[in-house]
Assembly symmetry: C2
Homo-oligomer: 328 residues x 2
């Protein structure tokens, strides 16, 4: 197992200590495994809480800061955080305007966030992200999985909360982002969970798994490795078939799964942009890099989000987090 770790059981705790050491403007609760904005709670602002299993970094802790999340709960690798963590996060960011829970659609996350909302004794609204067009149901999930749109949604909704909008409006923005975004991914290798010590699944050399989930759960089918142009077609075609993206701009996001270097992501972005141009879809904004990963999996995902002027202006608003930062 070629990993830069100590004890496989201690990876999440060690990484949280690293986040605390690198980002003194964040507050890390090592017992509850929370990463919180240093100035939380922000009086009068809707608090934004997300979280999920670890192994997808920078999601979610890397998106905590002004203009994005107020807190992130870190579960064990690929394992939902527990309701106690979510309750602690909710209370830590409750500035009197209520709290939004941003929940990726995995059964454990949804159940635990529901329980936490009941226990939190404050006003909570939950929005579930389910943007993955690859499969309807999968290991861990009823319905569609929550993947790349989560990154865009956390940024855009964070900007809406920053403007002082009330909880119902912030939640409406989040739902609108989810409804207008779609994703699909591909794996060229498996990932290896440290505690397991061996690849999560077998992927023979020369094959790739189309429609992979971010925990290595099965996708649509195994296909032979193909040139980037064909891989882009295999990812973008199902997305465009699922939602009409013409007649307005999109935020186009090519995401690395963890072990795929940036040069390949730009090769993929070029192919995605060419397909979109042919389909009459205008790229209004781009994001290229590893933002929602699956440990050391090689591969990528493509996310498209229909973006009107309001969405674009929220996207462009200042943000100051470890992994996304501009204008602040």
């Amino acid at each position: 197992m070629n990993k830069l770790i100590n004890d496989p059981a201690g990876v999440v705790a060690d990484a949280l200590r690293g986040i605390a050491a690198a980002h003194p403007d964040l507050r890390v609760d090592h017992e509850q495994r929370l990463v919180v904005r240093g100035d939380a709670p922000v009086r009068g602002k809707v608090g934004l809480v997300s979280g999920g299993g670890s192994g997808h970094e920078p999601l979610h802790a890397g998106f905590v800061g002004p203009g994005m999340l107020d807190a992130a709960c870190a579960g064990e690798i690929f394992t939902s955080p527990v309701p106690d963590q979510m309750v602690a996060a909710t209370r830590a960011v409750d500035g009197g305007a209520g709290v939004l829970h941003i929940v990726k659609n995995y059964t454990g996350d949804v159940m635990n966030f529901e329980m936490a909302a009941e226990l939190a004794e404050t006003e909570v609204v939950a929005v579930v992200v389910d943007d993955d067009v690859a499969v309807q149901d999968s290991l861990y999930t009823a319905g569609r999985r929550g993947v790349g749109v989560t990154v865009l949604l956390e940024k855009i909704t964070g900007a809406a909360a920053d403007q002082g909008r009330p909880l119902t409006e912030v939640a409406a923005v989040a739902r609108r982002v989810n409804e207008n975004g779609r994703s699909m991914g591909v794996a060229l290798t498996s990932c290896t969970v440290p505690a397991a010590g061996r690849p999560t699944f077998d992927l023979p050399g020369g094959e790739m798994e189309l429609g992979i989930g971010i925990h290595g759960e099965p996708g649509r089918r195994r296909v032979p490795l193909a040139p980037a142009a064909e891989v882009a077609e295999m990812l973008v075609t199902p997305i465009l078939a699922d939602l009409d993206f013409t007649g307005g701009g999109v935020i186009a996001f090519v995401n690395g799964m963890g072990a795929t270097p940036l040069i390949e992501l730009y090769v993929m972005f070029n192919e995605v942009a060419a397909i979109l141009e042919k389909a009459g879809v205008a790229v209004a904004r781009a994001l290229v890099g590893p933002y929602i990963t699956s440990l050391d999996m090689a591969g990528c995902s493509v996310t498209l989000l229909r973006a009107d002027d309001e969405i674009l202006s929220l996207w462009d608003a200042p943000v100051r987090t470890p992994a996304l930062r501009w204008g602040a």
Copy 2:
């Protein structure tokens, strides 16, 4: 070869097309393989040009923009750009205040940038970065190699140029950064150059290459895989032995080699920070992520830069590039 590419011979051209599609505020010269600030040349500002072999993304093209580089020249994978490219870049960014060439210490890069400076017919000063403490001479290099400090130097020197300082002063800042920075890296796997189609070197399972270069060139020695705490000691101890970092703050940079996910880099950062604390070295700023990579190599490098108030204020100044962006 598990790569998201088309023709192995076209990777650099395809990636440059992807950069152009994703970042409309940059100007990409596909014939000369240059990435240039959209508003270049900036009248009265020293122009900053860097470049080198491709395969280290986001270095250098990802660092082009206000507050950092004015232009980057992209060579073939792990191959120096040619003098013609460097001359074209120099002319494209010459705003009348002269041009600084930032050159990583590899024989081909140094020779070609020297030739370009002679041919450019404008005032050029070159600064050579040679921060790698691992080995004195190596494949491709006489003396020490230029690695992680390059990223910090491009940011800090870019801020100095933005303040309107003259070329001699901007070059002095660059030299001061180089003199005050040291790096060392480790590989857990080889990288694979697309045109070669097989790993650059053999690294048996259970071993790592300590002091690796960013092209996979040999380091100090092969050692058994070790826990992150020990790997951090193996990287930081030679750095601290080479330069006195006590009595002031440092910018601490834990860099991913391309295929190592962020969670592991934070585990490493935690260990590096603990060693520095014990050694009486204060971390003033941190950078964690893949910024100077080696294709799909797994591993990391550690860079420390002694930083006084001037360096820190230049580091904190606004920057707006694809890969480093804040305050703008």
